[in-house]
Symmetry: C2
Subunit: 132 residues, 2 copies
DNA sequence: CCCATACATTGACAGTCTTCGATATATAGA
DNA sequence: TCTATATATCGAAGACTGTCAATGTATGGG
């Protein structure tokens, strides 16, 4: 119905129906993971938290980063709500730290997506992927 | 000059000067990498390109994805300008494919950042990291 | 109590991003 | 040359995001 004589016989145009290997739901979840890391300030916050594991208060971050305190609190809330970091409040201070198990899970997800991208670009046969 | 008697002796507040392990420039570059992958449609496009390595035209993507053709062209342009994909125009069709070496470089960058985050969260002594 | 400090929250603004209709460009068959 | 198709581009609308001043909340010293 789509090829009535005017098309120059496209090699495989319109062959994909509506189902893709990575369906919309999984793509949305993955994109959320990537989006959390798609901001330079958040990347720096996580780096500082990792560098000094466990004894970083907000004022430390404020001193080290090029943004004001409300902005840092905003980013920390995003990191907190996504589960990437935890808080430990002591007196006036709030000590944030990376949640190691969450980080592992997150890295595993991103890695396996990026890995799946490169399987077929290395000129490997399809059978190697279908086994996953 | 900052501790004049009213501060309850904060453990290490304000210790970080202005230099962080991950400086702003590197963080900006990394965040650009993550941002490219921070959209579900782009993730699906890359997945489809990887699944069928090399013979995917825009109309294939249009048939498989939940967005209209101008949107797909827009995302393809972003992927193209960042170097993640290449085009091969033949007649009416444009065949996009993943650039394997760019993908490798990109994955290596993201991986080494995520790796650096987890070193200190595994309860390792500081000396192990200072050696890097 | 009063005050200083650390951090959170609010509200507003500016910039960016995604999306799509409309339109343009290019290619190829008749 | 005329028409149909594939893709690109333009322009605008709407949503989302990062930023910060102002303000609120809680804690602790004097």
């Amino acid at each position: 119905m789509a090829n009535l004589g005017h098309r120059p016989a496209p090699p495989r145009c319109g062959l994909l129906p509506g189902d893709v290997r990575l369906h919309a739901e999984a793509a949305a979840g993955l994109s959320r993971d990537f989006r959390l890391l798609a901001d330079p300030v958040r990347l720096q916050i996580l780096d500082i938290l990792a560098e000094r594991g466990g004894e970083v208060c907000v004022c430390d971050l404020e001193a080290a980063l090029p943004v004001k305190q409300p902005t840092i609190s905003h980013h920390l809330r995003l990191l907190l709500r996504s589960g990437a970091v935890t808080v430990d409040r002591k007196g006036l201070w709030a000590y944030y730290r990376i949640d190691p198990s969450d980080l592992r899970a997150r890295r595993s997800r991103l890695q396996s997506y990026l890995q799946s991208l490169s399987i077929n670009t290395q000129a490997q046969p399809m059978e190697a992927i279908n086994g996953l």
